[in-house]
């Protein structure tokens, strides 16, 4: 069997396995979405049910909560694979780990970021987001959550060998999430205010492309370091 064929076979089986595991542990998968839903529904109760007040806050709120929901799910990304020795087997596979971690981060996005993106417009209604903001919200979250998954995976890989890496993970990752948050929220805000939002969206697209290419390098390095413990 040729090399590229067996690489795609390996990647396909990593992809399938991670999806199957995610669906068998549905509670882990639903956790971020339920968090997202709960916090957003509580906002009108806590701040003000007035549509005009909420509409002003909605772009920023939706983005901040989505970001925190993503952060919540990161710790488990490599944790179980580290605990049961799968990580060693992945590293010892002759196939490049670079592509394997891309698949793993992608599955993480499919099971957390993508569902968040899909329910976000619904929650936009709850926060009285003006109708001009829905498509930009959807687009910015689509690009943004993908970036968050890949960047967050770096932190997850760095802290996987620590028994209690949760706090450290947040501290490492938060600063890297800030630019995504700024441009994500400003995409939606510009659209609501009637200003062209494609500029901010393009910057988000650039973040996303950079994260897709460069984050796997950092993840590979961090994982190889983590198994040495």
């Amino acid at each position: 069997m040729s090399n590229s064929q067996s690489l795609s076979a390996t990647l396909l089986s990593v992809f399938r396995r991670d999806l199957v595991i995610a669906f068998r542990q549905r509670s882990d998968m639903l956790n971020p979405i339920v968090f997202f839903l709960m916090v957003v529904t509580m906002m009108p109760l806590g701040i003000s049910p007035q549509a005009s007040t909420l509409a002003q806050l909605a772009p920023g709120l939706l983005w901040v909560i989505a970001l925190l929901a993503c952060l919540l799910s990161l710790d488990g990304l490599f944790r179980t694979d580290y605990d049961d020795g799968t990580l060693e087997q992945l590293i010892l596979s002759p196939q490049p780990l670079y592509f394997i971690v891309i698949i793993k981060a992608l599955v993480h996005w499919l099971t957390t970021g993508l569902p968040l993106t899909l329910v976000a417009p619904l929650l936009g209604v709850l926060l009285a987001l003006p109708s001009d903001g829905f498509i930009p919200l959807w687009l910015s979250l689509l690009l943004g959550t993908l970036t968050l998954s890949f960047v967050g995976a770096i932190g997850a890989a760095l802290t996987v060998s620590l028994r209690k890496g949760g706090l450290l993970l947040s501290l490492i990752i938060m600063p890297l999430y800030v630019p995504v948050l700024i441009f994500g929220a400003s995409t939606v805000r510009s659209a609501v205010e009637g200003i062209p939002y494609t500029g901010a969206l393009a910057v988000l697209g650039m973040f996303c492309a950079l994260a897709l290419m460069l984050a796997p390098l950092a993840i590979v390095g961090a994982l190889k370091m983590s198994v040495q413990e």
Binding site: M1, S6, A9, T10, S13, V14, R17, V20, I21, R24, Q25, T80, D83, D84, G85, T86, E88, Q89, L90, I91, L92, S93, P94, Q95, K224, V227, Q228
Partner: protein, 236 residues
């Protein structure tokens, strides 16, 4: 029997599969072992020996390059391991303390995934391998319903599937019953006869013909006490 002996001597005239040259490991400024010169040929079954804490697992992990900071050199078919990394990994099967079995998956799914990391296996091959380790009828049960020994057997079923030459096994006998151990030993001998090699650690003496021993107490940091602390032993 005679044919078997000639077979293994034939291989020994070739280059060794693996060569340790002045090989040593230091962890946290403690010299675990140093100055190991050892050749492993096709057809060898090598038992790495030593009391707890002498670095058996460390040696195996350094050999697989999960642990890249060691002194000396390891050669794979005469080439430095870092230069022949891909070639070596595609001929390697490593089963560590943690066998990489996911509890939420079934034995069949686990095995299909693990074997896909290095080549592929058909479903019938996988079921045959599971039958070999006595898990016939358990293929579709989630692994959290199986016992520790049965989970271990799933990992060991990889030995029936793999085409790898070099088997590196850390305590393969853990949680395996007597009959299972007998079967494993027969498999190791068969694999060696086919021109592969097996490197294993175990606290019970394996009952294997022509077993080679690599005793780490012979190389422990110049001091007979395995817990000796030697400061400044780094060259960095």
């Amino acid at each position: 029997m005679a044919a078997l002996t000639t077979h293994s001597t034939d291989h020994k005239t070739n280059t060794a599969l693996l060569t340790f040259k002045q090989f040593g490991c230091t962890r946290d400024s403690r010299v675990l072992f140093e100055g190991i010169d050892f050749d492993i040929y096709a057809g060898d079954v090598v038992q790495v020996e030593g009391p707890n804490g002498t670095g058996k697992t460390t040696l195996l992990r350094a050999l697989t390059r999960l642990l890249p900071d060691y002194e000396g050199e390891i050669l794979w078919r005469g080439k430095t391991l870092s230069h022949a990394h891909y070639d070596f990994l595609s001929q390697l099967l490593f089963i560590g303390h943690l066998p990489g079995i996911k509890k939420t998956l079934t034995p069949r799914e686990n095995l299909a995934f693990l074997s896909s990391l290095n080549g592929t296996s058909t479903l019938s091959d996988i079921d045959d391998a599971l039958a070999q380790v006595g898990l016939y009828g358990y293929e579709d049960m989630p692994c959290y319903q199986l016992s520790a020994g049965q989970n271990r057997r799933i990992a060991l079923a990889r030995l029936y599937l793999t085409k790898a030459l070099v088997w590196v096994l850390d305590e393969p006998y853990t949680a395996v019953d007597v009959a299972g151990i007998k079967k494993l030993e027969a498999l190791f001998e068969y694999h060696a006869k086919q021109g592969g090699c097996v490197i294993l650690t175990s606290h019970q003496p394996p009952n294997i013909r022509d077993l080679k021993h690599l005793s780490l107490t012979d190389y422990s940091g110049g001091d007979s006490s395995s817990a000796s602390v030697i400061e400044g032993a780094y060259d960095e």
